[in-house]
């Protein structure tokens, strides 16, 4: 097992490192929250990090020849390869360090993927990576809820009913995407009991996200973080509302923020307040009606959407996380 870095938890936004690892040169849309996710991710991880990124907006729009925004070593990997890329990078380093072919020092390995690349295509590779306890690596899935780069198509992580170029509301079929968003982080946590850290996050809560990255990189072994990223182009809203929409996703209880560290589940921020009854969930209408991708939803559709979210909080064994019915008292 290779060494891990000393990356202490950050107390207070002002203590987030000033040093940037993701700078100018990228070409993402105005208000692209995924770009902010990248920036915060590498701020938290620091310069002794290798980042590998799957095909998607965070490659194509992000990393252009001669204008790369990456200050740290960065490499592209294939759409479904984040798991294998992380494994290969970590294994290469581990092998050479063990054999004395390379200086033995802690180097962070982060592979990121979009929801299309991770939640759909790359799931088997991520699962396999999470089985290798001997490698320190982090797989970060930035979820903009569509195959954004190819012009916004539904993925297994898109919300029910969302308008996309593969699920346009039509005259006969108003709801073309009838799939409910995959519950990815709990699936990976439950399926890989050896994994010491799985978390969900949102760049609207930058400090929480920073500290999750740091815990993932220092706890040892393979880890996974799933981040929700509002995408003005795909979700169809004014770019200035990205931050607010990230917050609304959490405040409505649609996106639940938590970490599972060594088997212990802890909700954070508004999710925690909702769980403990300190605050109540906002109506999903507040979130859905701010986005053009849901403009075609009827009152009935919105009620249905709300009922599914209610169910996940009121009837699930671990509210918002584990979708088994609560056992009888």
């Amino acid at each position: 097992m290779t060494l891990v870095q000393d990356l202490p938890q950050v107390r207070g936004v002002k203590n987030i490192p000033i040093q940037e690892g993701f700078t100018s040169g990228h070409r993402t849309c105005q208000g692209c929250e995924s770009a902010l996710t990248m920036r915060l991710m590498i701020k938290a991880a620091g310069p002794r990090t290798i980042v590998v990124g799957s095909t998607g907006c965070m490659y194509v729009a992000n990393t252009t020849y001669y204008s790369t925004p990456w200050v740290v070593p960065w490499m592209h990997t294939q759409l479904g390869s984040s798991g294998a890329a992380a494994t290969g990078t970590a294994a290469g380093l581990a092998s050479m360090m063990r054999k004395g072919k390379m200086k033995d020092e802690p180097i962070n390995v982060i592979a990121f993927c979009g929801d299309g690349g991770g939640v759909d295509m790359g799931l088997s590779g991520i699962s396999a990576a999470l089985q290798h306890d001997e490698y320190n690596l982090l797989i970060l899935c930035y979820d903009n809820e569509s195959y954004a780069n190819t012009d916004i198509q539904v993925s297994g992580s898109s919300p029910w009913g969302a308008n996309s170029t593969f699920s346009p509301p039509g005259k006969v079929h108003r709801i073309m995407n009838k799939r409910w968003k995959k519950n990815t982080a709990p699936m990976l946590a439950a399926g890989h009991p050896g994994v010491r850290y799985v978390a969900t996050a949102c760049a609207s809560y930058g400090l929480d996200f920073t500290n999750k990255i740091r815990r993932a990189l220092t706890i040892g072994g393979p880890t996974f973080i799933h981040v929700i990223d509002p995408c003005p182009k795909g979700w169809d809203y004014d770019p200035k509302y990205s931050h607010e929409l990230g917050m609304l996703a959490v405040e409505t209880g649609l996106w639940v923020q938590y970490e599972i560290a060594d088997g212990e589940l802890t909700l954070s921020g508004p999710s925690r307040a909702i769980q403990s009854g300190v605050r109540s969930r906002k109506s999903v209408r507040e979130y859905l009606q701010r986005q053009g991708r849901f403009a075609h939803l009827t009152e009935e559709d919105l009620d249905f959407f709300q009922s599914r979210v209610d169910e996940s909080w009121d009837e699930w064994w671990l509210p918002g996380v584990v979708p088994f019915k609560k056992p009888e008292e």
Binding site: P47, I50, W74, Q78, G80, S81, G88
Partner: protein
Amino acid sequence: MTTVEEQLFMTEKEELISGSEAVAIACALADVDVITAYPIRPYDTVMQYVSQLKANGAFDCDFIVAESEHSQFEIVKHASSVGARTFCGSSGVGWFYAFEAIAVTAGLRLPVVAMVGNRALDDPGAFGVEHNDALAVRDLGWMLYWVATAQEALDMALMAWRIAEDSRAFLPMALSCDGSFLTHSQAIVNVPTQEQVNKFLPSYDRGRLQLHPDNPITVAPQVNEDWLMEIRRQSNEAMTRTPGVIKEVYEEFKQVFGRGDPSPFIEEYMMDDDPDIVLMGMGTLALPVRVAIRRMREQGKKVGFVRLKFFRPFATEEVQQALGGAKAVAVVDRDYSFGSPSFGGVLFNEVRAALYPLEKRPHVVNFIAGLGGREVRVRDVEDMVEITQKAIDTGKIEQECNWIGVRE
């Protein structure tokens, strides 16, 4: 105290091993850092031997059983990018499952070495050898070598890392080994010592292309039409440099290990008297062909054989020299290329293209044989020669592509 590894490779010895075992031993001798496996017959025997070597402490490597061939090839690709020596492999549809990763490995100029245990592509299912799996990457920047014996498998594997990792090349290389005939057949192999190998094979140095925090480069950014053509051109230039690298490495190998053919690209058999008919093929086909030629020679027929070893880079000049003087060339394909010129095989059309610039061109007749592992018998080879002789006698080729040993 000596380690198991030292004991194992301290003295040169002869061992009765299969082609797969020979490649596994080469992996240990080359001190490969990361090896990935996924089961598919017949290549996977190499990984069984690798895992045994590791389990017994004879080989220190990160041996990763991937969850698919795609991941298998992606893992070594990324390990190679941080400077690790790598090995991987597959067969048939497994090789195709990894195709995306295989393509980008060449695009990224990463010197991954792979073994293809040649196998027919499903459907319908068949375990036996066909060359279409490995041949599918022929346009992508992989060097492709066809092995004929277990000894050659071991030797070429050692050379493969040296050639692929030469910064003038930095291209991946695949060793094609005929399923069963080579992967599973045992032969006496001379296993060199660790000392000899260390003398021959330097460690892999990715240099300024190594992905590391001390060298914070960006690898494979989006280039689009602005730069893609220049980058393709660079890959092509690398491939055009490989024949020189190969020759150099081959000569040095012969010096250190004391064995090898005159040419690394082709092997000539009974070619000294410029025979009228020259057979050409790849891999273990050499065995029945040699027997048939000896028999026909006894009957006074002037027939020779050229075994093509490197399919990529294709040694155009050597092939021209070897075949240009013949009256007719019989190309034996253990593959097919449906709908290709003359509806022939892949090798056939490549050889024809290579001979085209010659002023005096031999007739080139094609034979599709031994698909799916069907045995190519001595009498099949005799049939091929008979058909080829007819072209010489009549001055024209009646049928350019002939399927041999097939039920009508």
